[in-house]
Amino acid sequence: MTLLTDLTGAPPGMTGRTLLMRLSAIGAVLAGTAGTFAYAGGWLSPGTLTPARVIDRLEEVNGRHPGFRRNHAKGLCVEGRFAASGAGARLSKAGVFAGGRVTPVEGRVALAGGQPYAADAETTVRSLALRFRLPDGEEWRTGMNDIPVFPVRTPEAFTAQLLAARPDPATGKPDPQRLHAFFAAHPESAAAAALIKARRITAGFADSTYWSLNAFRFVAADGRATPVRFAYLPEGPAAPARGAQEAGPDKNVLFDDLVATLRREPLRWRLVLTLGRPGDPTDDATMPWPADRETVDAGTLTLTGAAPEAAGNCRDINFDPLVLPDGIAPSDDPLLSARSAAYSQSFTRRAGEAKSPSAVTVTPIHGAAL
């Protein structure tokens, strides 16, 4: 024991037994601290779904396309402004809703799916992502789809659906048995899929309606919170989809159409807030709210310009739906935090990868944004 006593610098009176006990106690404290850290970091629960595993699954079904978003990979940058009507100010203290306020907006239109060079198809889900830059550094970022409800309720169901809907290499179509098993296990998804299938598909990005999908809590200056789902409704008339034959050989027909329209005139959408009532589901994006809910017209989004993805523009922005200004807060929808985490993981991966040009190459249009 004298060696141990010398090594540790224990006082001469301390017995070897006491010394060993105390050394063990110190070891236990250190092991406990390291163990707590490992527990927090998820090393002790390897089966749990993590942001990295969600993105791994997207890469598994779509293939790896370095430098691109892992979902909604094919897109085009847009720019414009949002002019508030003032009617939203009673629901949210966020400055973007103050009457007369005009906020510069940059955004991105895209097609769902993780394949950046896929040909445009009219049934592919279309998305609109926006970034509002408020005074004093605040921002509102949002990512919306042209579907009235989301196909799944949880991130676990999202990854299960990706696998179930994966095209079979032999047929090019999803395995019907796997799809059937997925919908049997997720009846809420079967109901949502029927609503999504029944939606009216319009001619293009310009006349699509984009839905927030998830609910948010709008917080007024007096602290009152209201559950809100929102949608951007096109101001112009919506034309029916043209069908595959009419689209011709242009693989970017939807994006090219949008640019051609923007070259002629700015495009406008009204931001319509739908106010939830007690009992309306805020934690289930697969369920619509009753059609008679009060709505508020919060203002007009005007898109005036477009440009291909490039360094420094929408390509390098993460449209995380939980980048919110004071006055808009997340609801209890589990998809919101999961989207935020998965988008962040996708952004971190692509940020460090070499970039390739987007399939959508158009001559930029820069309208007078303000």
């Binding site: 105390r22 110190i26 970091g41 921002e139």
Partner: protein, 184 residues
């Protein structure tokens, strides 16, 4: 009987409040990168806590310059003195570097560095995805390094308190332990 020298009350308050904050911060950081459901709540806590730790670390460094810590015992072996000095340089360096790297990486990614309510810090770097990717990795590496140095610091403190019983642990203990031999 002369009492062994201790850290001053403000120094002890700073030490123990930061100990709690930094350990909480490391656990939050480890949990949030693997969590889907709690990601948003944890990251919303992570940003303001990080900036608080940065402010406290600067305050503590300034305080330490005007209030020297009590000397180490004269009989402490030279290698242990050197290790103690090096680990404290590392602790201060990492306490300052981790929040700064976090702030810089969010700036490079063009995320608003939102703290509480409408309060958003300005960016300290221009937007650059590659810069973000590098800083994001550095943030993780430095966090593991800080956790390692904290484990070594905790182990050494317990060695002083339970085995050497030389007054070093008592000098920072929040209470005044009895029956430690006076420092030489």
């Amino acid at each position: 009987m002369t009492r062994p020298p201790r850290f001053t009350l403000p120094a002890r308050l700073l030490h123990w409040s930061m100990a709690v904050l930094i350990l909480a911060m490391l656990l939050i950081g480890a949990a949030m990168v693997t969590s889907l459901g709690d990601y948003h709540a944890l990251i919303a806590l992570h940003r303001p806590l990080g900036i608080l730790i940065l402010a406290l670390a600067l305050l503590r460094l300034a305080y330490r310059r005007s209030h020297a810590p009590p000397p180490l015992p004269a009989d402490l072996p030279l290698w242990q003195r050197r290790a103690a000095h090096a680990s404290h340089v590392a602790l201060y360096g990492l306490m300052l570097a981790l929040p700064l790297v976090g702030w810089a990486m969010l700036s490079a990614a063009r995320y608003p560095v939102a703290l509480v309510g409408p309060l958003v810090l300005p960016p300290i770097l221009p937007g650059s995805p590659m810069l973000y990717a590098g800083l994001r990795l550095l943030h993780t590496v430095l966090a593991y390094a800080l956790f390692g140095v904290i484990l070594a610091h905790l182990g050494a403190a317990l060695m002083h308190g339970l085995i050497r019983r030389d007054g070093v642990f008592a000098s920072m203990a929040p209470w005044r332990p009895r029956a430690e031999r006076p420092r030489a």
